[in-house]
Symmetry: C2
Subunit: 143 residues, 2 copies
DNA sequence: ACAAGTTACATTGCGGGCGATGGACCGGCA
DNA sequence: TGCCGGTCCATCGCCCGCAATGTAACTTGT
């Protein structure tokens, strides 16, 4: 049976994710954040003091991954974890000054990463691609 | 600055890759292969006895990743590594009977993974999405 | 023929994803 | 009150990606 990798969405999506991740990694490195940390930062820039559980509900990441990501972010001085005042199981996550200050630059870095791989795309092509990706993701979430 | 994850190709591509990978993982599990092993299997189904270096030239994977993937495949009984007859540094990779026999089912599993996330896509939409992905990947390879 | 450079591969350490499991804690119900 | 099921989080083992480094073996130039 003929099977061409380059006609497989599964294979192409892994290449695509690697490319985008690398693009963001290069740009985020100077600022001091890793690609997987960016979604967490986004949520915290819009609201601090969330618990790990609340972050989990807002992001598409498993609990084990989140715990590890937060541990790295704490180690790297992006985040502080404080005991929840009324629930001793829980923790609240706060940004450090460093993380709070990089918001503008970090968002620009993410936009630049997007743009670098989408150069040459017309506006409607970019929108269409994003829409197709959302559709496929929704199919995956369905099952 | 407003920044919506769902408008970011970087973020969506990571979700997409996770979805496709999970779809392939579920299907490949019964047969006994992991998603990252599939591209290697594809190459070996079309030609056995390749060296690690030759596989590297044919796939978009770093040497360290390949060495680890091959070690896992050997452990899982998919592959045999034999010393190269004339170059003692090199090794030749051969499939086991188990791996050779699963070719048809494995390719169908991969097609099914693709299809499951692309259900509801018209033919031209699927083709367009693949083409956009290839374009973005090419942009990333450029730099 | 031999030193020096190059090549093939393994290994290590890290980012980031997952499921499974375990400990501490909360809440509700008897 | 005291127990018990559910919840929050950490940890472990695994897959898979990367860069950097080490070792053995090949090749090349003198």
């Amino acid at each position: 049976m003929a099977f061409d990798r380059m006609d497989s969405a599964t294979y192409l999506s892994s290449l695509l994710a690697k490319s985008f991740s690398r693009a963001l990694q290069e740009r985020g490195q100077k600022l001091g954040f890793a690609p997987g940390q960016f979604p967490v930062l986004l949520e915290l820039w819009s609201e601090e003091g969330l618990t790990q559980k609340q972050l989990l509900d807002r992001l598409d990441i498993e609990q084990a991954t989140m715990a590890n990501t937060l541990a790295r972010m704490e180690r790297d001085g992006l985040v502080l974890r404080k005991r929840h005042p009324t629930d001793k199981r829980a923790q609240q996550i706060f940004l450090t000054a460093k993380a709070r200050e990089m918001e503008g630059e970090a968002k620009e870095a993410a936009l630049a990463a997007d743009q670098s791989l989408l150069s040459g795309f017309r506006h409607f092509e970019r929108e269409l691609m994003l829409e197709y990706m959302r559709m496929a993701i929704a199919n995956g979430a369905q099952n």
